[in-house]
């Protein structure tokens, strides 16, 4: 069991997942988005190899309407 903060919300995962697996589990895989982990960008090419750890803070963002 690991605990994360995703987009400001506390979340528990049964096991440590990769970024890619997390996105798949949330039906976000393949969407146009960007991920930051503990203040550092996780490039798309590394989603599959980046294993999340207890206490990680993730930001997952998309483009929305704005001026």
């Amino acid at each position: 069991m690991i605990q994360l903060i995703i987009n400001g919300q506390p979340e528990r995962l049964e096991q440590a997942l990769t970024v890619h697996a997390l996105l798949e589990a949330r039906q976000l895989a393949g969407k146009r988005l960007a991920v930051e982990r503990n203040g550092e960008i996780v490039p798309k090419g590394r989603h599959a190899e980046t294993l999340l750890a207890d206490g990680d803070r993730l930001e997952i963002v998309v483009a929305v309407g704005g001026g």
Partner: protein, 261 residues
Amino acid sequence: MNDSLVIAGKSYGSRLLVGTGKYKDFDETRAAIDASGAEIVTVAIRRTNIGQNPGEPNLLDVLPPEKFTILPNTAGCYTADDAVRTLRLARELLDGHALVKLEVLGDPKTLFPNMPETLKAAEVLVKDGFDVMVYCADDPIQAKMLEDMGCAAVMPLASLIGSGMGILNPWNLRLIIDQANVPVLVDAGVGTASDAAIAMELGCDGVLMNTAIAHAQNPVLMASAMKKAVECGREAFLAGRMPRKFYTADPSSPTSGLIGS
């Protein structure tokens, strides 16, 4: 006439840049943007839903980056650090795309820029390889500092963001335009087509707007009006207006050959 707008080495046929906020839905967004003829469209960067709302439509499916130049902004950021972080996420989101709109706000009531934080963020972003179009105060000194720092374009406000108050500072805009060696765009304040024309007649290289189109009664028709206003203002600027003659009329018709003379 080839009169393209060049920003960071890339040419654009349209001098109207538009935002994508405040529309009723994505269909209206796309219809208005198509009517505006804009090639550069701004977007905001926000947290996604994390599975609560699967299948939610994505703005970039409506405005594909293959067709439009997407200009991610830092709207809502009040510190240089937040703005830089947001744009690094945007660059990752857009596969390494470097053109960005920096805005660091100073006050939620006026949305005036916090210029010290803006300058700080601009310096970091330029060093990090971004092409920075920067929302700024209508202060010629700080506009020049941003240019000297390496910003790709300076974008002073003409009046408050979303206010539709029009061009309240033509003299300051002229001072900024006259000294600038990078494109100067009015970003914020335009309310209707004549405002956009005035900005262009002053010599601005372009106009960026959102609310004036999105909050018009008929956004698609206003987008079309803005397209024409920017073009007509640009042509009037290039044509060069006649000098103003204060207190002296000058008849357009011949003064001789009148009947009864």
